[in-house]
């Protein structure tokens, strides 16, 4: 994978809004932004209600994913262009998800909603409906998804990349600073994890930094190319952004996203936790 296959620019998107076989999808945790204006022709996916199982703590299974895409009118052969707010966090999560279920052609809109808005590109409020399809998903590709036992086993052996903010890494904050801080679980990070906040990978307009800059950022942080990598954050969406950078832009292999992330790890009984700004010992 590379930038050419995984990413499209706002310019490209604006020229291809009506291109046959191209489906724009806005993905957000809160879709109220979509309702006040979206890219022409784009449908919406709600991270919380469409992509998460509403009973178990897990995301939707293959059958539920097939039903969702069929109902929204996405077919197996469509080129899916994902974008969203929050610097594309939830769009990157959905991208990971489309890959997990084997969609052939999916790309992120570089800069997402923010770049589009700051460029003053047009947004519309039209209702978008697409004819239903018969979407067939593949079995989940667990080579890109990490579970908790694997994460515990990775301490001191694999690259663990904590992509939360430095204060969350150190245990001074439990959540991003735009959210109230009340939480039940322990603060800190997984021992031996390096801290590379997701935001290092993005410019302030939400676009991704250049490949050279990205390679330098992770290299300087001590990411060892020769080892497998697991990225995590608090709930798995910021780490999808970093998973996208490492695997899809820089072409690393064996990168997994730990979607259980800190809300799971920081609530586990008996696992090691490190506090402070250093990775800590295994």
């Amino acid at each position: 994978m590379s930038r050419d296959t995984a990413l499209v620019s706002a310019e490209w998107a604006e020229k291809n809004l009506d291109a046959p076989g191209v489906v724009f999808v806005e993905v957000d945790e809160d879709t109220s932004a979509y309702d006040t204006g979206h890219i022409a022709g784009a449908i919406k996916i709600d991270w919380k209600t469409d992509l998460q199982d509403q009973v178990r703590r897990d995301f939707v299974n293959k059958t539920q994913f097939e039903a969702l895409l069929s109902e929204r009118g996405i077919s197996n052969d469509d080129t899916v262009i994902l974008y969203g707010g929050n610097n594309n966090w939830f769009a990157a999560y959905a991208y990971w998800y489309f890959k997990l279920y084997g969609h052939r052609d999916v790309k992120l809109l570089d800069g997402g909603r923010k770049k589009w808005e700051l460029d003053a590109r047009p947004l519309v409020t039209d209702t978008v409906t697409r004819p239903a399809t018969q979407y067939v998903a593949q079995e989940p590709d667990t080579s890109i998804r990490a579970f908790r036992d694997e994460v515990v086993a990775a301490i001191g052996t694999k690259n663990l990349v904590d992509v939360r903010s430095p204060d969350e890494f150190a245990g001074r904050l439990l959540a991003p600073a735009h959210l109230p801080q009340e939480q039940a679980q322990r603060a800190g990070h997984i021992p031996t994890a390096i801290s590379v906040p997701w935001s290092k990978a993005a410019n302030e307009d939400g676009t991704f930094r250049s490949d050279d800059e990205l390679r330098r950022i992770y290299g300087d942080a001590g990411l060892d190319d020769g080892k497998d990598t697991i990225a995590y954050c608090r709930i798995g969406e910021r780490s999808s952004h970093t998973w996208f950078v490492l695997q899809e832009l820089l072409g690393h292999r064996n990168v997994k996203n730990y979607d259980g992330s800190w809300t799971e790890y920081g609530s586990l009984v008996g696992v090691p936790v490190a506090l402070g700004d250093e990775p800590g010992e295994a």
Partner: protein
């Protein structure tokens, strides 16, 4: 009814009242309004909270009345606003409770 799911990361409505459960003796709230050079409130601006080293910490989008709000920790922060009308920065030294700040973009 929507079943509870993992608490998300998207920013809540920036114009909503502070949650009643919020303990202002513990929380450090940094809040205010983004204004244009002509003193008009700027809605839809992206406000970034940068820590004392300039590292990105969080980002929200201003409400229709230009409001933003962060839940941070006591210390030195920079607010950087991006908008179609231009960008702007304001430094703040925040303590516990509510810290009011305004950011002008031009």
């Amino acid at each position: 009814m929507t079943a509870p799911t993992a608490a998300g990361c998207a920013a809540p409505d920036q114009a909503a009242p502070l949650p009643a459960s919020l303990d202002l003796e513990k929380e450090t709230v940094i809040t205010g309004i983004v204004r244009s050079a002509g003193d008009e409130a700027v809605s839809g601006a992206y406000v970034r909270l940068l820590d004392s080293t300039g590292e990105f910490t969080a980002e929200v989008v201003t409400s229709a009345a230009g409001q933003f709000r962060f839940f941070a920790a006591p210390g030195s922060w920079t607010l950087r606003a991006l908008s179609r009308h231009g960008n702007g920065d304001t430094a703040v030294t925040a303590g516990r409770g509510i810290n009011e700040v305004s950011v002008t973009v031009a």
